[in-house]
């Protein structure tokens, strides 16, 4: 593969892709691909035959299950895995081994969004199509740097703005898309739910809510109203650090639009349920669900985060999102799988890697997942080194693979025909365009062979047959055969047998009565604000995309260079300080700065940038020590933290 280019006819991107897309072909042609299964011996890794590797994996899994029970094994994958391999991995865990210990590696970030959307609108996904953003009259972009993380969608937003849509950006950071905003609400960290509550109050006070929509489609409106009355615009404005007039104008613009879309990220960002609920409340209040160009865009920052969740790579939900405790749903799958499905929720990746599930888990299976490198919420290396069995399926010798007992080389993008589900529910086929190098096998085939070695009756000849079974396991995929997906740029779910063309936006054929639920978001405690001693709010967040140490970035020469730029500029990492604060402290870019908190202090290089609001400081997740030194907390607490930490800045 010597190059790649986008299709101008793709309904989502119309030929506009990001720098990663333009360089995606370099993974398959990397010179350091793994070729043969590797078995750990006392003298390092040794190449073995496929038969021997599969036999070893099956025997060790059987031993652990027989001695310690099925729940002593856990199965995790990366949200970049295909639907077919995700589905088979959880089926291996549930139907063959007998455990619900399954998860994609990013559950800590996106589960709040899945649960909230399920409880409020019944579908855990983006409601509308990316292409419809050009028809939205108002766009709300909340807390996601679209320019860096999702340029295809960022471009849609910018072009919609150029064509006359109004753009509301809610973010503590002044990122690229914020430069185009009509209303840039640069709020103080931790005040999001307050802001949306105040916007709801403005809408209610001015009578701009969509009462017919609410009456016919929504429940719990009275309780919601009761909660909204607790909000006070002026107090909220003061607390958020955003002028009241601007909040009010943004709320009015949102409510008056014929169609208004809200975009937020389910990716690596601390987001409490409160702020997500408050956002969805706004959409319900104005009737922006089931409407072209409106909706909620719960953006997934990984290429198949949506599909991986749809396939049931969740410890508490089966394929299609039914809870594992739901007997009817379990029964349906048991008939399909001819095996018993365990009924208690399993352990997620965080709990397994934090303390091996209380010492219960002794073996893990990691499909294209590299937690040692990418999981910021735990010390995966230490957990893995204590495991009795670590199976790694990957393209490369990753940091995680170093801890493996057996490594099974997989094939790359472009070397197999499998499906992925994008952020707007579009199930798409990735076609096979080249033969894989000799040695590696598709991951779904490896899973099939291991299942057979464990006496399961699996007979998939190709990934299309796996998809065939998925159409029977996941109701809203029932029409998504490879044959159907190949006819166009995929199909958007629900794609069912009686609606083979898929669904452009949810509820396009009408909304059932009382289908939606308002959530009651009590007015949050005014966050413990800045004090004279500790005036600056520290936010812990994702940094520029170069720092995502994923397989593509590590194996593309161009992307690797871009990664190195920041590494070379700030070899020990950095914290981001506003120009104003830096000037006041007399700190120049690259100089050391000290963060003094209640519990301790930490020194880091300052990256001075106009993107950060004065009075806040951004600490990227990968600078793991800073959080520990200030708060005595680890990075995981930082991820799950929705309230800011206050510090004092000093020149170091």
């Amino acid at each position: 593969m010597t190059g790649v280019y986008p299709s101008m006819s793709h309904p989502s991107n119309q030929g506009r892709i990001c720098v990663r897309g333009w360089n995606v072909h370099e993974v398959a042609s990397s010179t350091d691909r793994l070729r043969q299964p590797l078995l750990r011996t006392t003298n390092g890794f040794k190449e073995v035959s496929w038969e021997k590797a599969i036999e070893f994996v099956a025997r060790r899994m059987r031993d652990i299950r027989d001695w310690h029970g099925a729940d002593a094994l856990a199965f995790f994958n990366s949200p970049r895995c295909s639907n077919e391999e995700s589905y088979l991995l959880q089926k291996l865990a549930r139907a063959v081994v007998g455990t619900n210990n399954v998860e994609h590696g990013t559950g800590v970030y996106c589960n709040n969004s899945i649960d909230t959307l399920l409880e409020m609108i019944g579908h855990p996904a983006t409601t509308n199509s990316v292409g419809e953003l050009s028809e939205s009259e108002v766009l709300v972009v909340d807390g996601v740097d679209l320019g860096m993380q999702l340029p295809t969608i960022g471009g849609r937003v910018i072009r919609a703005r150029l064509n006359g849509a109004k753009l509301i950006v809610v973010d503590a950071r002044r990122q690229r898309v914020a430069e185009q905003a009509d209303f840039f609400l640069q709020l103080r960290p931790g005040t999001r739910a307050l802001l949306y509550g105040a916007m709801a109050k403005v809408i209610v006070d001015r009578g701009l809510m969509n009462l017919p929509f609410i009456k016919s489609h929504c429940r719990n409106y009275e309780a919601f109203l009761e909660a909204v009355r607790q909000y006070d615009l002026l107090a909220v404005a003061e607390c958020c650090g955003v002028p009241a007039e601007r909040i009010e104008a943004a709320a009015v613009a949102y409510a008056q639009a014929k169609s208004a879309a809200i975009l937020y990220s389910t990716g690596v960002a601390a987001r409490g349920r409160g702020s997500t609920r408050a956002l969805v409340n706004l959409a319900l209040l104005t009737g922006n669900i089931g409407r072209r160009g409106g909706g909620i865009f719960a953006l997934t920052e990984h290429n198949n985060l949506q599909g991986t969740c749809d396939m049931g790579m969740l410890p508490d939900r089966l394929p299609g999102y039914c809870p594992v405790g739901d007997e009817a749903a379990r029964r349906r799958l048991e008939i399909l799988w001819k095996a018993r499905v365990p009924e208690t929720p399993g352990l997620d990746a965080q709990r397994v890697f934090d303390n091996a599930g209380g010492g219960q888990v002794r073996g893990v299976w990691l499909l294209r997942y590299d937690p040692v490198n990418t999981a910021i919420f735990c010390d995966a290396a230490s957990a893995l080194s204590k495991m009795e069995l670590v199976v790694v399926q990957h393209l490369f010798m990753t940091s995680t693979a170093q801890y493996a007992h057996v490594i099974l080389p997989v094939v790359a993008f472009g070397e197999e025909r499998v499906s992925f589900t994008s952020t707007d529910r579009r199930i798409q086929l990735a076609e096979k365009v080249i033969e894989p190098p000799p040695g590696p096998k598709p991951a779904w085939r490896q899973l099939t062979e291991v299942a057979r070695a464990l006496d399961a009756d699996w007979h998939y000849q190709d990934a299309g047959e796996v998809m065939e079974e998925i159409t029977r396991a996941v109701p809203f995929y029932s029409g998504a055969t490879h044959e159907n997906l190949a006819r166009n740029y995929g199909r958007q779910w629900p794609c069912t047998r009686d609606k083979m063309l898929g669904t452009k936006y949810l509820f396009e054929e009408g909304i059932p009565p009382q289908a939606f639920n308002f959530a009651v978001v009590p007015r949050p405690q005014t966050p413990q604000g800045a004090s004279d001693d500790y005036p600056v709010a520290a936010i812990f967040g994702n940094s520029l995309y170069y720092w995502n140490q994923n397989v593509l970035v590590q194996h593309s020469e161009t992307l690797k260079r871009e990664l190195r730029v920041l590494l070379l500029d700030y070899p020990e990492g950095f914290v981001e300080v506003s120009e104003e604060d830096a000037r006041r402290l007399g700190v120049r870019d690259g100089e050391k700065i000290r963060l003094v908190g209640h519990h301790g202090s930490s020194v880091a290089a300052a990256r001075v940038t106009g993107e950060v609001r004065s009075g806040t400081i951004t600490v990227p997740f990968f600078v793991k020590e800073v959080m520990k030194q200030i708060m005595g907390e680890g990075a995981f607490e930082a991820v799950s933290r929705t309230k800011p930490v206050f510090v004092r800045l000093e020149k170091a």
Binding site: G15, C18, T31, R156
Partner: protein, 362 residues
């Protein structure tokens, strides 16, 4: 230049003739409105199209691949053994549009036109036979974004092709030879002499098709002047920079962008491979120096670099042409609509509004 006539149903015989000793690349239709260049085989030969939208990914990659192995080196007898990898395949591109012909000519100026000649480019270029097709069908050939009229590269190339084909209608094409190699083809019996009436028809069609362009960026020369004199306002560059999402797409689809980077990577057994890849001025690492200084660190400084490089007088003088051929691909690829046509318009509008460029005062 000598003109010949060839019947429409015999045009693809030119492909067959070329296939005798060349790998021939030609445009095909994909899904939707996609088109692409691909190698002609016995199987797909019948699906070659003459009138179709110009492929999104330019044929630049046949002379300057997106990623190209330059050489391998390995330790041997206490020193290094160098093993260059040249590509000496004879190749013909059939159906190259005039803008893309100008693009390859621009690459020629850059890689071959000065003191140092690039041996990799030179071999590929020397082995390349170009069959240009003139854009005459306003529905198929001319996209909304095309503006070759303004960059003075089309719709009919004047030179730098081996053979040029133009649809005269009525089942006839006119063939014009641009090189002795092209003229040698005229010995084949499929070509007939052209009459003065047919030459007149060519002229008439061309003058008519010039009026069929939907989007003409008529302010090129003003923009060249503003940029060359450094009169573009900082705030205009910032406005442009804020709309750039640093994807690099504009450089990847540009037929005239020449920038590349070179990197070494181990391939096992102590052997190292040196590759050359397309690079992009949109990216932060592009101008970063080894010591850490980056003269174009801010995104708008990187963006204005692109337009300086393409439109500033200094570069035009050096290469005798603008590094923009008017194909319009950068307008289609850009997330924030800061392709060449929009930028020319933004610069023109912002700069012309300034008093100091309006010498007459009351």
């Amino acid at each position: 230049m000598r003109a010949r006539i060839i019947a429409r149903n015999e045009v693809l015989k030119i492909v067959d003739l070329l296939r005798r000793d060349h790998e021939v690349v030609a445009p095909f239709r994909g899904g939707g409105r996609d088109t692409f260049f691909d190698t002609v085989t016995d199987e797909n030969r019948g699906r070659i199209e003459i009138h179709l939208p110009n492929p999104y990914l330019p044929p630049k990659r046949y002379v300057l691949p997106q990623i190209e192995k330059l050489l391998r080196f390995r330790p041997r007898d206490g020193t290094w053994e160098l093993l260059p990898e040249f590509n000496d395949r004879k190749r013909a591109i059939f159906g190259l549009r005039s803008c893309d012909v100008a693009g390859i000519h621009h690459l020629d100026r850059f890689f071959l036109g000065r003191e140092f000649r690039d041996p990799y480019y030179e071999r590929r270029r020397k082995n390349l036979f170009i069959v240009n097709v003139v854009c005459t069908d306003p529905e198929q050939d001319i996209n909304d974004e095309c503006y070759c009229l303004c960059s003075d590269t089309g719709p009919a190339a004047r030179d730098h092709f081996d053979l040029q084909l133009m649809d005269l209608g009525e089942g006839e094409f006119m063939a014009v030879a641009g090189t002795p190699a092209g003229e040698a083809l005229f010995a084949e019996p499929i070509f007939r002499p052209a009459t003065p009436g047919q030459v007149e028809r060519r002229r008439r069609i061309l003058s008519e098709v010039r009026h069929r362009f939907k989007n003409t960026t008529g302010w090129f020369s003003a923009t060249v002047r503003y940029i060359s004199r450094g009169q573009v306002l900082e705030k205009t560059w910032e406005e442009i920079g804020h709309r750039c999402l640093e994807c690099g797409g504009c450089t990847y689809v540009c037929p005239a962008c020449t920038c590349f980077t070179v990197t070494d990577r181990p391939v096992g057994n102590g052997e190292i491979e040196r590759v050359r890849l397309w690079d992009s001025c949109a990216l932060g690492g592009f101008t970063r120096m080894a010591g850490g200084h980056n003269p174009r660190r801010a995104v708008h400084d990187r963006r204005n670099r692109r337009f300086f490089r393409k439109l500033a007088h200094y570069f035009i003088q050096r290469e005798l042409s603008m590094a923009c051929v008017g194909c319009g691909r950068c307008a289609a690829v850009c997330h924030g609509d800061v392709g060449m046509p929009s930028v020319v318009e933004m610069i023109r509008r912002a700069t012309a509004e300034l008093d100091r460029h309006e010498p007459v005062k009351s």
